[in-house]
Symmetry: C2
Amino acid sequence: MASVNGNNEGGGAAGARVTKFLQWLMALPSEFSAKVVDVMSQIKKVGKEDPRRVIHALKVALSITLVSAFYYVNPLYDGFGSSAMYAVFTVIVVSEFSVGATLGKGLNRGFATFLAGALGLGSYYLVHSISTEHIVEPILLGTLIYLITAGITYFRFLPQIKARYDYGLLVFNLTFCLVSVSSYRDHEVLDIALKRVISIISGGLISVSVSIFVCPIWAGGDLHNLESKNIEKLGNFLEGFGEEYFGRSEGGESNKLFIQGYKSVLTSKQVEETFANFARWEPCHGRFRFRHPWQQYLKIGNLSRQCAYRIDALNGFLNSAKTPLEMRGKIPDPCIKMSTEAGKALKELAMAIHKMIPPSAANPHIAKSKIAATNLRSIMKTGLWEDTNLFEVIPVLTVASLLLHVVSCTEKLAESIQELSTLAKFKNQDSEFVPKSPQQKETPQPCCHNSGPHHVVTIN
Amino acid sequence: MASVNGNNEGGGAAGARVTKFLQWLMALPSEFSAKVVDVMSQIKKVGKEDPRRVIHALKVALSITLVSAFYYVNPLYDGFGSSAMYAVFTVIVVSEFSVGATLGKGLNRGFATFLAGALGLGSYYLVHSISTEHIVEPILLGTLIYLITAGITYFRFLPQIKARYDYGLLVFNLTFCLVSVSSYRDHEVLDIALKRVISIISGGLISVSVSIFVCPIWAGGDLHNLESKNIEKLGNFLEGFGEEYFGRSEGGESNKLFIQGYKSVLTSKQVEETFANFARWEPCHGRFRFRHPWQQYLKIGNLSRQCAYRIDALNGFLNSAKTPLEMRGKIPDPCIKMSTEAGKALKELAMAIHKMIPPSAANPHIAKSKIAATNLRSIMKTGLWEDTNLFEVIPVLTVASLLLHVVSCTEKLAESIQELSTLAKFKNQDSEFVPKSPQQKETPQPCCHNSGPHHVVTIN
């Protein structure tokens, strides 16, 4: 009986396993199709986020198709032979998203190949002139390669080098090793090296030309827009914060989501630095000169982040609704004014960067937010608070205090953008059309055209 | 006279120019030597910051020397011929600083080469079977290459793909284009492709082996140490802040500098993500299993940064010394206590991560900081403040309020580290030696062994 039972149980277990397997098998197609739908929606999303990605993909494909001519066209192939491979290779490796990145990689690759090729040939002839013995030559070559590789690899850790010439040093290392190692076997080195250098330069030229002349994507423009958008996001938060915190907002959840956009500013440092590194390779384009002050954007970025850190602290108070509304109502007017005006100032600054005009339109808002700050201080100096429970108003006071810091940050940001405006010679768009005359002073913001650095309100 | 004068002046100007040129020429050697000294000191600094950089350089050089054997040793060269180049190539490109990065690149390269090679051959035979005409074949091949390149380039924008398989897709693109394009000219494709795949795999193996077996540098370990150090830096700030702000510190400027270390935490996101991506490729090593919960480190990192943003807001108050010391003295005790205990808790948490033990030693400090927070609240509820100018104490209150936020952040961080401890099965180091017995409860921190998530104090 026991064994029969056992068999039955075993059979049951096996049956259950088979059923499970069948269920899994049945679910497979639907799971697979769900996965496919997921990937497809992601692919769509990536394109929607930045349609230039589609253009980039088509551009790279175009470069490859062009460079394939090295193989398809007889006279070209007769000239280059299998060295044409290096042209294909270069195009794929060098074609980056932005012009700056492509140009940086292309120039790095070109110069590094040339230098390393020359040095590799030199070391081959040097070693060959010392000894042609089959034991001594590889030892000498090997030692030389060991030393140079170790040196170059270590050199790549230097921060300034890493930022601009990392790829160049990698290619230098590569080419030097290939040329000097293969020279041991292949004695027509000079001819081969020449063909390779020419095909690499051709590949690089194709890649850079397509990058520049077919719907160019400029890293400099991206950096410019990123700074402008980041400052706008901070402005959005501040414009919404006052009303939201003091309970006068009617936007509900959608408004809350909208003002959370500032979070991406907190971690934008790396992206900014990458853009700035690429932008430095770019020639003059559109509204940007060759030596546009890209470094100033990094300074502006740092100040925006300092402002964003304070805003994040403010946001911590927004999410907790513990303080009774009537308490919050004690000092709302100057606080809302400070927040809204600082927000407006930031948005004007963002607009000034975007349009490349002097940031004077922000000055009245900064002035108003400073007046609100003074009001706030005088309200606090009066004995308004004596009958309140101090513990309950602390969050409100903290918010007020942080807002004072934010106003100071906004001023510093305005100064820094003013500096950018001077360095990059931003021009008032009106001034190009209106002749210079005494009437010019009657433009919408006449009183605030002081372009010098503003005095920073010290708060605390 | 005029002309003589003119000549004299002209001669004078030329003379001045010559003098200037000579001065410049004289200064050249000293400027050059200053530059050399500067670069040398930077080279030294880079090595001092992380001596593993020197080891890495020597390791890469070793790999190259090993792979050169493909050229120097006759039987190897007879087998591979000029395909040996691909082995050298692979070693240089794949050898990255950490094992994870090398392994990730190596595996990406290996699989991508294999797949793209097979697909490239397939497309060659497909096109060849449709037509061998000299006009139709390149058009068909070109179209195929255009479509696949555009697709792959676009696919690289997907975030999940970009993080782990970006290099693989680049190599896939490269190999596919090379194989299918060169197949048009070279009809011994299969033989060539096989040799290349084998040399690429050999190069990859050499590179990965040297990376793993010669003084390995683990990205996982780096991520682990980074988190631990970042939390320690936050702890240092908080430990020092209370005394510094309330004017009881004796450290002076050196102490101020010391507590500024937290600033690097603000921008550590990118580095952490890179380390986590690399770490996922790494096999089990030292104290880390293969599937160590690296993602949890990113969560901890995010919480550390939230804490760091609050600390940066606190730091803004530290630098301004406008509030009179006697005002600051009103609530110093609980504030100093909160700050110091939160700091100690963070340092204990950092130590727990560092030693991979459960973070229970932090609990008493968290408890003390919470008691101090309660004290602070009750002090504030008393009418202690009625005779003070509210405006002047606002900064102190803001600092107190931010400190309450920081205590809450510390608690969340402790929870997250507790979760890491559970996921990664951290063990108390004592428990490995002491048998499980009732006496075990008399270990140094017996009362705080509650491993469940703590209740977070909601403040505001």
